[in-house]
Amino acid sequence: MADFLQLLIAGIATGAIYALAAIGFTLLWQTSQTINFAQGEFVMLPAFFALAAMKWGGAPFWLACLVAVAMSLLILGVAFKGLIVDPLIKHGAMPLVISTIGLSIFLKDGVKDAYSAEAQPFPAIFPDRLIEILGVKVSLAQIGVLIIAFGVIFVLQWFLGGTRIGRQMQATAQNPTVARILGVPVERMILYTFLINAALAAMASLLISPIYLAKFSSGETLGMAAFVAAIVGGFNQVRGAIAGGIIVGVLDNMAAVYVSTAYRQAVPLVLLVLIILFRPQGLLGRKEERAV
């Protein structure tokens, strides 16, 4: 039982990180109809920004983390929007989908060539010490991940629902034409979405890399987990993405122990198939309401 609880906590911690990536994925889809097939690489990359800042810039870890966030905002936020999404979205969904797939390959190979093909250890923000709470051994690192991930999610939810800018972003996501008619600066709201996605990817990267190491190819699994989490959650809901992320995280930790680590990566795929078969609108999702 204690083992199970330990596993559950580990699963929720990984799941919360998947949720960060899935929320970003969902927000991008909602506000700009961008399905970002490079989302996994977006989570892989910021850790390497930090590693590079430490290795070549001699930066201390905390500064390297800030550099990673700043670079992510710039490259995965502003440049991604300005150089890839904006020019292509006019031509429909398909060119953009293909470009994000191309981007994912480019980022993978870029990191492999520029940094290393080996998995890199990544410093943990919290010490990996076990403490015992009510007979259950939990690692401080996991607790730290949980607190940060849920803290970020909480702040984001508050921002989207509790501030006027956040509500203007929601309005833009729900109906951009009407938002424009009311004078909402729609373009700026879309930019904010890209920045939030970049920041979420950076957070996810800094949290997951100490657990699974930083590796050029880790985006494949991460991207799949985020994608499935978003689908499980209904694809157009932030709340759904949170639930989806946690479900995927818990199931893949359980599968790794109770079934076999070899099957761990199959968990998201199995979930995806089940969802498509039995609940195509997602767990919390409703039928698509957007008026096109």
């Binding site: 006027r164 509500r167 203007q168 929601q170 309005a171 729900q174 109906n175 034409t177 009407v178 938002a179 424009r180 008619i181 009311l182 004078g183 909402v184 600066p185 309401e289 008026a291």
Partner: protein, 259 residues
């Protein structure tokens, strides 16, 4: 093109369209539209499906580019203004269909109507005014807007538009899907606004009822204003009656059900 030029001095017009051409992609829909919309009056635009009525509103409000021609409001040229600039000029647009943000609360929907307000400190008072004017919205202030009935949603849209205290309202088929009682309510709000000096430009499928409460009418066909006259004259116009007012002729029957 203007059938009744002597009843029309553009001097008291708030909005002037001159030879406006616009459309979607390569398709031309407004094909040299010229019209003068009178200040403080209700003008109803009628015409067959696909005539370009909604396109005209979208073009005026800056959602579609004007290819050639000019649009003037209050003596200022506003051709190709952005929606935000139109709002700043005192115009609001309530498009066809459902335009509320279903997942936001009624109150937050209203609040979004105030995005373009130059003095944001007055927003709270204006929302309060709308709640006083439409008590049902106060009652539902914290409910998701999507849970309102169709009529209540339209009221919310109207209230959201009124928040800016506009001098020009473009309203595209507000009565669609509403109960007769609700249609009456929406129409009486518009009449009341016109009495207070607001200029209303309205599109209505239910042309007869709309013209009966309007001051002026404008018949749009194939992207051109064929007739501009008082609502009364248009109601009594045999050609119009045959085509658009449900005179029992085949074209009217074919045009009536869809929107």
């Amino acid at each position: 093109m203007t059938a009744n030029a002597n009843t029309h001095q553009s001097g008291d017009a708030l909005l002037l369209l001159k030879d406006v051409v616009s459309g979607y992609g390569k398709m031309t829909i407004l094909n040299g539209t010229t019209a003068a919309i009178r200040r403080g009056a209700i003008t109803t635009v009628i015409g067959p499906n696909g005539a370009g009525k909604s396109t005209m509103f979208k073009t005026i409000f800056g959602l579609l580019p004007v290819r050639t021609g000019t649009i003037t409001m209050d003596g200022k040229e506003i051709t190709n203004s952005s929606p935000r600039q139109m709002l700043d000029m005192g115009a609001v647009f309530i498009p066809q269909g459902r335009n509320i943000f279903a997942e936001l609360t009624v109150k937050h929907n209203l609040e979004l109507g105030g995005v373009a307000l130059s003095d944001q400190s007055g927003l709270g008072d204006r929302i309060e005014d709308m709640f006083t004017r439409f008590p049902i919205l106060r009652e539902k202030a914290n409910a998701q807007a999507g849970t309102l009935s169709g009529g209540q949603q339209k009221l919310l849209e109207v209230a959201r538009g009124l928040l800016l205290n506009p001098k020009l309202m473009l309203v595209d088929e507000p009565s669609i899907g509403l109960s007769p009682l609700m249609v009456q309510e929406v129409f009486s709000i518009l009449i009341d606004l016109a009495k207070k000096g607001v200029t209303i430009l309205l599109i209505e499928q239910n042309a007869k009822q709309a013209l009966q409460m309007s001051d002026y009418g404008l018949v749009l066909e194939q992207g051109q204003a064929r007739i501009e006259d008082t609502a009364k004259n248009i109601l009594n116009d045999a050609r119009v009656a045959q085509l658009f007012l449900g005179g029992g002729m085949a074209p009217a029957a074919a045009a009536a059900p869809a929107h």
